[in-house]
């Protein structure tokens, strides 16, 4: 780590991308500093998932640049990007359902040549519920536990940064609470920088250092979590109040 763990980790500059002929992102610019939790909020279909997928190389950028840890990663495929220390937890289908919990974690460590047992133990300590279900197929778990398996899989490479796409979507209120606590824990204890897309905008901003509001494939507003929470227009549009 450079500069005592501070400084710019991810920089997205004027990125344009889309699917086939259809342009979805019309120039997105954002950045995440080391140690931060940054939230990306916005209405349905705004392109939030597309931003994450473009950063991770799953959707090719048509123009603009993505820089991670000082190096451009714009044209790299996901299997290269993951080696550089970014892990991605997709919005849906983020586990291997027929593999056991333990095998899911092993697949997270697929690229590791060294001994991943210590990291696996740390993940089990962080999520004791799934530690008791090591031999259970992940698809048989409850929604909250599946999400923990999904986080665990992504954490196996001990990434510098996690990209989380709607980690709390479709979960019961109590579990949502738990997931947000987990995100904070991963950030504070494991020192992982987090870029997170969330529908649960208010909760997400409450735990975030900063946030961006994405509308129609462009980021419209940027600010600290507190500023965005206090912003009346945003409150009206996205925070339900």
């Amino acid at each position: 780590m450079t500069e005592n763990g501070s400084g710019r980790l991810l920089e997205v500059a004027d990125v344009v991308s889309g699917y086939g002929e259809m342009e979805i992102l019309h120039g997105v610019t954002l950045h995440v500093d080391r140690g931060e939790i940054v939230s990306l909020i916005g209405p349905n279909g705004a392109g939030k998932s597309t931003v994450i997928k473009t950063i991770f190389g799953l959707v090719p950028a048509w123009s603009g640049q993505v820089v991670f840890d000082g190096e451009p990663i714009t044209a790299l495929p996901p299997e290269q990007i993951v080696r550089r220390g970014i892990s991605y937890v997709p919005q849906v289908e983020n586990i291997f359902p027929s593999l056991t919990v333990e095998e899911n974690l092993e697949m997270g460590a697929y690229l590791r040549e060294d001994d991943f047992r210590p990291q696996m133990e740390r993940i089990y300590q962080m999520f004791p519920e799934i530690a008791d279900r090591r031999r259970t197929p992940a698809g048989k778990l409850s929604g909250g536990m599946r999400q923990m398996v999904a986080f665990g899989r992504a954490m196996m490479l001990e990434p510098q940064m996690l990209l989380l796409d709607e980690p709390s979507a479709g979960l019961a209120p109590l579990v949502v609470e738990l997931i947000f606590e987990t995100v904070v824990n991963i950030n504070r204890q494991a020192g992982v920088t987090i870029l997170m897309v969330e529908q649960n905008a208010r909760k997400a901003l409450e735990i975030s250092h900063r946030g961006y509001v994405l509308v129609d494939g462009r980021n419209r507003v940027e600010g600290t979590g507190r500023e965005l929470l206090a912003n009346e227009e945003i409150g009206r549009l996205f925070l339900g109040g």
Binding site: F56, L58, P78, E79, V82, R83, S87, Y88, P90, E93, N94, I95, F96, P97, S98, L99, E103, E106, M107, G108, Y110, L111, G139, R153
Partner: protein, 304 residues
């Protein structure tokens, strides 16, 4: 009847060996490999080439072991036959399926392409070896008479042992090794496998090799159990698919039971009707399963 059950178990073990490869491939490449039967035939003919031509030319003539009709040369021939068939399967992937995959065609187009590959393979076999049937060895086929009217040839014991050793070997590989787990992960969720750093194309290549090699072994065993003929594998295609569907498509454990059930039912049916109806029996089983329980008898929710 007991005898038909026994011969059904032997045939069923061969079907199983083909079916597990077929179902593994289905999970990874997402289409039914209609060339699977003809990969069996190819393997059987390459083994014939080894035992009848290449090894004798090197001065190695097979001499039967104990009561068997064949010896070490036959057993050693499994390796080149499996290797070459595995490579042929990879070649078909590179020349045909991968190009189609890159164009993102629908699975049905890939399955039809596989049908074309099957015709090409069978035509090549007709051209090189002709339409006659062959035996691996001219050795005497001893028969054991067991209680309950069961007759068993020592060769068939070898068929059984080899088939199950390979099936167990494949399962151990899939359950225990990192690469095996990655194959299952890829079958489960290709996108997540990719973001985990699993190299999809390499895994597809490996799966074709395994599928081809196992099909070749099944073909040789079928040749040992009966004889080597150009359409031997083609005629197995229906029972193979029926076994896979019976077990739940893509369900590796289901394919085991499906293969055995198919073998036994096919053989037992010959007590009531002409053996030439055996394929029809497989067909009826397949249709019944599709109508009544499309997820297979062992299929849970995940059968897509």
């Amino acid at each position: 009847m007991a005898n038909l059950v026994v011969s059904g178990i032997i045939l069923g073990s061969i079907i199983t060996l083909g079916a597990v490869g077929l179902t593994l491939l289905y999970g990874i490449v997402n289409f039914g490999n209609f060339a699977h039967g003809d990969m069996m035939t190819l393997g059987a003919y390459i083994a014939l080439l080894m035992t009848a031509t290449i090894f004798p030319a090197l001065g190695l003539v097979d001499t039967p072991i104990g009561p068997l009709s064949f010896g070490w040369v036959m057993l050693v021939s499994f390796l080149p036959a499996m290797g070459v068939t595995g490579l042929a399967a990879i070649a078909a992937d590179r020349l045909v399926y991968r190009r189609l995959r890159e164009r993102r065609v629908r699975p049905i187009m890939l399955a039809i392409a596989a049908l074309a590959v099957a015709f090409v393979m069978r035509s090549v076999i007709y051209i090189l070896w002709g339409a006659d049937f062959h035996f691996y060895s001219q050795g005497l086929r001893t028969t054991w008479k067991l209680p309950l009217g069961i007759t068993l040839r020592p060769d068939q014991v070898v068929v059984l042992v080899v088939a199950w050793a390979m099936v167990v070997g494949l399962y151990t590989f899939l359950q225990r090794t990192k690469t095996g787990k990655a194959l299952r992960a890829l079958a489960d969720n290709p996108d997540l496998a990719r973001v985990s750093g699993i190299a999809t194309e390499r895994m597809i290549t490996l799966t074709w090799f395994i599928g081809g090699a196992m099909a070749a072994a099944a073909g040789i065993l079928l040749g040992i159990d009966s004889q080597v003929r150009p359409e031997m594998g083609w005629l197995m295609l229906l029972p193979l698919f029926a076994a896979v569907i019976l077990g739940g498509i893509g369900n590796a454990y289901g394919a085991l039971a499906g293969g055995l059930i198919l073998g036994v039912v096919q053989q037992v049916s010959t007590a009531f009707m002409s053996p030439s109806y055996k394929p029809a029996v497989a067909f009826i089983i397949m249709i019944l399963v599709l109508l009544v329980r499309p997820q297979g008898i062992f299929g849970g929710s995940k059968s897509s």
